[in-house]
Symmetry: C2
Subunit: 172 residues, 2 copies
Protein backbone atom coordinates (compact mmCIF):
# COMPACT_ATOMS: atom_id res chain seq x y z
CA UNK A 1 0.00 0.00 0.00
CA UNK A 2 1.35 3.41 -0.97
CA UNK A 3 1.96 5.99 1.73
CA UNK A 4 -0.31 9.02 1.71
CA UNK A 5 0.88 11.78 -0.63
CA UNK A 6 2.20 14.93 1.04
CA UNK A 7 -0.33 17.29 2.55
CA UNK A 8 -1.28 20.37 0.52
CA UNK A 9 -1.92 23.19 2.97
CA UNK A 10 -4.85 25.47 2.07
CA UNK A 11 -4.54 29.24 2.47
CA UNK A 12 -7.32 31.82 2.42
CA UNK A 13 -7.68 33.32 -1.05
CA UNK A 14 -6.25 36.81 -1.50
CA UNK A 15 -5.43 38.89 -4.57
CA UNK A 16 -1.75 38.98 -3.73
CA UNK A 17 -1.34 35.27 -3.18
CA UNK A 18 -3.34 34.41 -6.31
CA UNK A 19 -1.73 37.03 -8.57
CA UNK A 20 0.64 34.57 -10.31
CA UNK A 21 -2.36 32.50 -11.43
CA UNK A 22 -5.02 35.07 -12.28
CA UNK A 23 -7.57 37.42 -10.74
CA UNK A 24 -9.67 37.29 -7.59
CA UNK A 25 -13.14 38.59 -8.41
CA UNK A 26 -14.46 40.47 -5.39
CA UNK A 27 -15.72 43.92 -4.48
CA UNK A 28 -13.26 44.41 -1.62
CA UNK A 29 -10.41 46.56 -2.87
CA UNK A 30 -11.85 46.94 -6.37
CA UNK A 31 -12.18 50.17 -8.32
CA UNK A 32 -15.80 51.33 -8.09
CA UNK A 33 -18.04 54.30 -8.78
CA UNK A 34 -21.69 55.30 -8.57
CA UNK A 35 -23.97 54.98 -11.60
CA UNK A 36 -27.73 55.13 -12.23
CA UNK A 37 -28.19 58.41 -10.33
CA UNK A 38 -26.47 56.96 -7.30
CA UNK A 39 -28.74 53.93 -6.91
CA UNK A 40 -26.06 51.45 -8.08
CA UNK A 41 -22.36 51.05 -7.35
CA UNK A 42 -20.30 49.62 -10.22
CA UNK A 43 -17.24 47.53 -9.25
CA UNK A 44 -15.54 47.79 -12.58
CA UNK A 45 -13.60 45.34 -14.76
CA UNK A 46 -12.75 42.74 -12.13
CA UNK A 47 -10.79 40.28 -14.27
CA UNK A 48 -8.97 39.97 -17.55
CA UNK A 49 -11.22 38.07 -19.95
CA UNK A 50 -8.73 36.69 -22.49
CA UNK A 51 -10.67 34.67 -25.04
CA UNK A 52 -10.00 36.19 -28.43
CA UNK A 53 -7.11 34.03 -29.62
CA UNK A 54 -7.81 32.01 -32.77
CA UNK A 55 -11.18 33.71 -33.25
CA UNK A 56 -12.57 32.79 -29.84
CA UNK A 57 -15.51 34.50 -28.18
CA UNK A 58 -16.84 34.90 -24.65
CA UNK A 59 -19.18 32.25 -23.28
CA UNK A 60 -21.35 32.64 -20.19
CA UNK A 61 -22.21 29.30 -18.57
CA UNK A 62 -23.37 27.87 -15.27
CA UNK A 63 -21.40 24.98 -13.74
CA UNK A 64 -23.20 22.89 -11.13
CA UNK A 65 -20.51 21.23 -9.02
CA UNK A 66 -21.00 18.33 -6.66
CA UNK A 67 -19.60 18.84 -3.17
CA UNK A 68 -16.17 17.47 -2.24
CA UNK A 69 -15.02 16.79 1.32
CA UNK A 70 -11.63 16.35 2.96
CA UNK A 71 -9.46 14.40 2.57
CA UNK A 72 -9.19 15.34 -1.14
CA UNK A 73 -6.56 13.59 -3.23
CA UNK A 74 -5.12 15.60 -6.11
CA UNK A 75 -4.63 13.26 -9.06
CA UNK A 76 -4.77 15.56 -12.08
CA UNK A 77 -4.90 19.15 -13.25
CA UNK A 78 -5.95 20.81 -16.49
CA UNK A 79 -5.34 24.04 -18.37
CA UNK A 80 -6.84 26.04 -21.22
CA UNK A 81 -4.22 27.10 -23.77
CA UNK A 82 -6.57 29.40 -25.68
CA UNK A 83 -8.40 31.33 -22.99
CA UNK A 84 -9.01 32.46 -19.45
CA UNK A 85 -11.75 30.88 -17.34
CA UNK A 86 -13.60 32.66 -14.52
CA UNK A 87 -15.67 31.03 -11.76
CA UNK A 88 -18.03 33.19 -9.69
CA UNK A 89 -20.07 31.38 -7.03
CA UNK A 90 -23.83 31.95 -7.22
CA UNK A 91 -24.05 31.08 -3.53
CA UNK A 92 -22.06 32.31 -0.54
CA UNK A 93 -20.63 28.83 0.06
CA UNK A 94 -16.84 28.46 0.08
CA UNK A 95 -14.98 26.49 -2.57
CA UNK A 96 -11.45 25.26 -3.13
CA UNK A 97 -9.05 26.60 -5.73
CA UNK A 98 -6.07 24.38 -6.56
CA UNK A 99 -3.47 25.61 -9.05
CA UNK A 100 0.01 24.55 -10.14
CA UNK A 101 2.95 26.69 -11.06
CA UNK A 102 4.08 26.55 -14.66
CA UNK A 103 6.71 23.82 -14.72
CA UNK A 104 7.36 23.66 -18.45
CA UNK A 105 5.67 20.69 -20.05
CA UNK A 106 4.52 19.35 -16.70
CA UNK A 107 2.75 21.15 -13.84
CA UNK A 108 5.01 22.60 -11.15
CA UNK A 109 4.38 22.94 -7.41
CA UNK A 110 0.76 23.06 -6.29
CA UNK A 111 -1.00 25.78 -4.31
CA UNK A 112 -4.43 25.59 -2.69
CA UNK A 113 -6.74 28.45 -1.68
CA UNK A 114 -10.10 28.65 0.05
CA UNK A 115 -12.56 31.11 -1.50
CA UNK A 116 -14.88 32.66 1.08
CA UNK A 117 -17.60 35.32 1.11
CA UNK A 118 -18.49 34.90 -2.54
CA UNK A 119 -14.99 35.45 -3.94
CA UNK A 120 -14.57 34.31 -7.54
CA UNK A 121 -11.42 33.53 -9.48
CA UNK A 122 -10.29 33.95 -13.06
CA UNK A 123 -7.65 31.44 -14.17
CA UNK A 124 -5.27 33.08 -16.60
CA UNK A 125 -4.78 31.31 -19.92
CA UNK A 126 -2.50 28.28 -19.60
CA UNK A 127 -2.60 28.15 -15.78
CA UNK A 128 -2.82 24.56 -14.51
CA UNK A 129 -5.77 24.11 -12.15
CA UNK A 130 -7.87 21.37 -10.65
CA UNK A 131 -11.45 21.04 -11.92
CA UNK A 132 -14.17 22.64 -9.79
CA UNK A 133 -14.04 21.74 -6.09
CA UNK A 134 -17.34 22.79 -4.54
CA UNK A 135 -17.73 22.35 -0.80
CA UNK A 136 -20.59 21.62 1.60
CA UNK A 137 -23.37 21.20 -1.00
CA UNK A 138 -23.86 20.96 -4.74
CA UNK A 139 -23.34 24.57 -5.84
CA UNK A 140 -23.80 26.67 -8.97
CA UNK A 141 -21.08 28.90 -10.41
CA UNK A 142 -21.23 31.40 -13.21
CA UNK A 143 -18.38 30.58 -15.59
CA UNK A 144 -16.99 33.00 -18.18
CA UNK A 145 -14.71 31.24 -20.63
CA UNK A 146 -13.83 30.84 -24.30
CA UNK A 147 -15.82 29.29 -27.10
CA UNK A 148 -14.70 28.67 -30.65
CA UNK A 149 -12.54 26.40 -32.77
CA UNK A 150 -9.25 25.01 -31.49
CA UNK A 151 -8.14 22.63 -28.77
CA UNK A 152 -8.64 24.55 -25.54
CA UNK A 153 -8.31 21.73 -22.98
CA UNK A 154 -5.14 20.01 -21.84
CA UNK A 155 -5.25 17.51 -18.99
CA UNK A 156 -2.36 16.14 -16.97
CA UNK A 157 -2.78 13.05 -14.80
CA UNK A 158 -0.09 12.35 -12.23
CA UNK A 159 1.23 8.79 -11.99
CA UNK A 160 -0.09 8.65 -8.46
CA UNK A 161 -1.89 11.13 -6.22
CA UNK A 162 0.52 14.05 -5.90
CA UNK A 163 -0.95 15.79 -2.86
CA UNK A 164 -3.73 15.54 -0.33
CA UNK A 165 -5.88 18.26 1.20
CA UNK A 166 -6.59 17.13 4.72
CA UNK A 167 -8.29 20.16 6.23
CA UNK A 168 -9.51 23.68 5.53
CA UNK A 169 -8.32 26.87 7.20
CA UNK A 170 -10.60 28.69 9.59
CA UNK A 171 -12.79 31.13 7.68
CA UNK A 172 -12.58 33.89 10.26
Amino acid sequence: MSPDPPELVVRLLTRDAFAPFGDVIETAGAHHYAINEGTTERFHDLCDVDVESEGGKTLVNIFRGQAWACPISIKMVERHPLGSQAFIPLTQRPFLVVVAENGGAEPGPLHAFLSTDGQGVNYRRNVWHHPLLSLEETSDFLVVDRGGAGQNLEEFSFNMPIAMIKSLPSMT
Copy 2:
Protein backbone atom coordinates in the same frame (compact mmCIF):
# COMPACT_ATOMS: atom_id res chain seq x y z
CA MET B 1 -51.31 67.76 -9.93
CA SER B 2 -50.79 65.27 -12.74
CA PRO B 3 -52.76 62.05 -12.74
CA ASP B 4 -50.82 58.87 -12.11
CA PRO B 5 -49.25 57.41 -15.24
CA PRO B 6 -50.77 54.17 -16.53
CA GLU B 7 -49.96 50.99 -14.63
CA LEU B 8 -47.27 48.73 -16.09
CA VAL B 9 -48.25 45.15 -15.31
CA VAL B 10 -45.36 42.86 -14.35
CA ARG B 11 -45.16 39.33 -15.73
CA LEU B 12 -42.98 36.47 -14.54
CA LEU B 13 -39.79 36.28 -16.61
CA THR B 14 -39.68 33.52 -19.23
CA ARG B 15 -37.43 32.86 -22.21
CA ASP B 16 -40.31 33.15 -24.64
CA ALA B 17 -41.66 36.43 -23.32
CA PHE B 18 -38.18 37.97 -23.11
CA ALA B 19 -36.94 36.69 -26.48
CA PRO B 20 -37.49 40.00 -28.34
CA PHE B 21 -35.17 41.74 -25.87
CA GLY B 22 -32.42 39.20 -25.17
CA ASP B 23 -31.63 36.03 -23.26
CA VAL B 24 -32.81 34.63 -19.94
CA ILE B 25 -29.81 33.11 -18.15
CA GLU B 26 -31.01 30.05 -16.24
CA THR B 27 -30.31 26.36 -16.04
CA ALA B 28 -33.93 25.33 -16.62
CA GLY B 29 -34.32 24.32 -20.24
CA ALA B 30 -30.66 24.98 -21.09
CA HIS B 31 -28.34 22.66 -23.03
CA HIS B 32 -26.12 20.86 -20.51
CA TYR B 33 -23.69 17.98 -20.23
CA ALA B 34 -21.44 16.33 -17.65
CA ILE B 35 -17.76 17.28 -17.36
CA ASN B 36 -14.97 16.70 -14.85
CA GLU B 37 -15.55 12.93 -14.68
CA GLY B 38 -19.20 13.47 -13.89
CA THR B 39 -18.68 15.70 -10.85
CA THR B 40 -19.86 18.86 -12.65
CA GLU B 41 -22.74 19.65 -14.98
CA ARG B 42 -22.05 22.35 -17.55
CA PHE B 43 -25.04 24.47 -18.65
CA HIS B 44 -23.45 25.76 -21.80
CA ASP B 45 -23.41 29.14 -23.54
CA LEU B 46 -26.43 30.71 -21.89
CA CYS B 47 -26.43 34.09 -23.65
CA ASP B 48 -25.06 35.90 -26.65
CA VAL B 49 -22.17 38.08 -25.50
CA ASP B 50 -21.98 40.70 -28.25
CA VAL B 51 -19.19 43.11 -27.35
CA GLU B 52 -16.72 43.07 -30.21
CA SER B 53 -17.94 46.01 -32.29
CA GLU B 54 -15.45 48.85 -32.66
CA GLY B 55 -12.72 46.88 -30.92
CA GLY B 56 -14.68 46.23 -27.73
CA LYS B 57 -13.85 43.53 -25.21
CA THR B 58 -15.70 41.64 -22.47
CA LEU B 59 -15.82 43.16 -19.00
CA VAL B 60 -16.82 41.29 -15.84
CA ASN B 61 -18.16 43.61 -13.13
CA ILE B 62 -20.26 43.52 -9.99
CA PHE B 63 -23.16 45.97 -9.67
CA ARG B 64 -24.46 46.62 -6.15
CA GLY B 65 -28.02 47.87 -6.53
CA GLN B 66 -30.10 49.58 -3.86
CA ALA B 67 -33.55 48.13 -3.31
CA TRP B 68 -36.59 49.67 -4.98
CA ALA B 69 -40.16 49.21 -3.76
CA CYS B 70 -43.58 49.65 -5.36
CA PRO B 71 -44.93 51.97 -6.53
CA ILE B 72 -42.08 52.50 -9.02
CA SER B 73 -42.37 55.33 -11.52
CA ILE B 74 -40.66 54.79 -14.86
CA LYS B 75 -39.11 58.07 -15.96
CA MET B 76 -36.28 57.04 -18.24
CA VAL B 77 -34.64 54.14 -20.06
CA GLU B 78 -31.20 53.60 -21.53
CA ARG B 79 -29.54 51.44 -24.16
CA HIS B 80 -26.06 50.36 -25.21
CA PRO B 81 -25.49 50.78 -28.95
CA LEU B 82 -22.16 48.92 -28.96
CA GLY B 83 -22.77 45.86 -26.83
CA SER B 84 -24.94 43.44 -24.92
CA GLN B 85 -25.19 43.62 -21.13
CA ALA B 86 -25.91 40.64 -18.87
CA PHE B 87 -27.07 40.76 -15.23
CA ILE B 88 -26.84 37.62 -13.11
CA PRO B 89 -27.98 37.95 -9.49
CA LEU B 90 -25.46 36.81 -6.89
CA THR B 91 -28.33 36.24 -4.48
CA GLN B 92 -31.61 34.40 -4.89
CA ARG B 93 -33.59 37.62 -4.43
CA PRO B 94 -35.98 38.65 -7.21
CA PHE B 95 -35.42 41.75 -9.31
CA LEU B 96 -37.36 43.72 -11.89
CA VAL B 97 -36.57 43.87 -15.59
CA VAL B 98 -38.15 46.74 -17.53
CA VAL B 99 -37.58 47.00 -21.27
CA ALA B 100 -39.04 48.98 -24.15
CA GLU B 101 -39.73 47.90 -27.69
CA ASN B 102 -37.67 49.54 -30.40
CA GLY B 103 -39.73 52.54 -31.46
CA GLY B 104 -37.29 54.13 -33.87
CA ALA B 105 -35.55 57.13 -32.33
CA GLU B 106 -37.67 56.93 -29.19
CA PRO B 107 -38.48 53.94 -26.99
CA GLY B 108 -41.66 52.05 -27.86
CA PRO B 109 -44.11 50.29 -25.53
CA LEU B 110 -42.75 49.11 -22.18
CA HIS B 111 -42.72 45.58 -20.76
CA ALA B 112 -41.91 44.53 -17.20
CA PHE B 113 -40.77 41.14 -15.92
CA LEU B 114 -40.02 39.72 -12.49
CA SER B 115 -36.88 37.56 -12.29
CA THR B 116 -37.18 34.80 -9.70
CA ASP B 117 -35.07 31.86 -8.55
CA GLY B 118 -31.78 33.41 -9.62
CA GLN B 119 -32.72 34.04 -13.25
CA GLY B 120 -30.41 36.44 -15.06
CA VAL B 121 -30.97 38.44 -18.22
CA ASN B 122 -28.81 39.56 -21.12
CA TYR B 123 -30.01 42.72 -22.84
CA ARG B 124 -29.29 42.54 -26.53
CA ARG B 125 -27.35 45.44 -28.01
CA ASN B 126 -29.55 48.51 -28.50
CA VAL B 127 -32.46 47.25 -26.39
CA TRP B 128 -33.96 50.03 -24.26
CA HIS B 129 -34.07 49.06 -20.59
CA HIS B 130 -34.45 50.64 -17.20
CA PRO B 131 -31.34 50.73 -14.99
CA LEU B 132 -31.04 48.01 -12.35
CA LEU B 133 -34.14 47.52 -10.18
CA SER B 134 -33.13 45.40 -7.20
CA LEU B 135 -35.86 44.39 -4.77
CA GLU B 136 -36.10 43.67 -1.05
CA GLU B 137 -32.48 44.49 -0.11
CA THR B 138 -29.35 45.97 -1.60
CA SER B 139 -28.15 43.16 -3.89
CA ASP B 140 -25.09 42.28 -5.93
CA PHE B 141 -25.21 41.24 -9.58
CA LEU B 142 -22.50 39.94 -11.84
CA VAL B 143 -22.56 42.05 -14.99
CA VAL B 144 -20.96 41.03 -18.29
CA ASP B 145 -20.77 43.94 -20.71
CA ARG B 146 -18.53 45.80 -23.16
CA GLY B 147 -15.45 47.87 -22.52
CA GLY B 148 -13.50 49.90 -25.03
CA ALA B 149 -13.59 53.11 -26.99
CA GLY B 150 -16.83 54.53 -28.37
CA GLN B 151 -20.06 55.95 -26.93
CA ASN B 152 -21.91 52.95 -25.55
CA LEU B 153 -24.59 54.67 -23.44
CA GLU B 154 -27.72 56.40 -24.68
CA GLU B 155 -30.30 57.64 -22.18
CA PHE B 156 -33.88 58.69 -22.88
CA SER B 157 -35.85 60.67 -20.30
CA PHE B 158 -39.59 60.88 -20.79
CA ASN B 159 -41.23 64.30 -20.41
CA MET B 160 -43.18 62.93 -17.46
CA PRO B 161 -43.36 59.49 -15.81
CA ILE B 162 -44.55 57.16 -18.55
CA ALA B 163 -45.69 54.20 -16.45
CA MET B 164 -45.99 53.02 -12.90
CA ILE B 165 -45.35 49.59 -11.42
CA LYS B 166 -47.86 49.22 -8.63
CA SER B 167 -47.44 45.59 -7.59
CA LEU B 168 -45.51 42.40 -8.30
CA PRO B 169 -46.94 39.10 -9.49
CA SER B 170 -47.08 36.15 -7.13
CA MET B 171 -43.82 34.21 -7.34
CA THR B 172 -45.48 30.80 -7.16
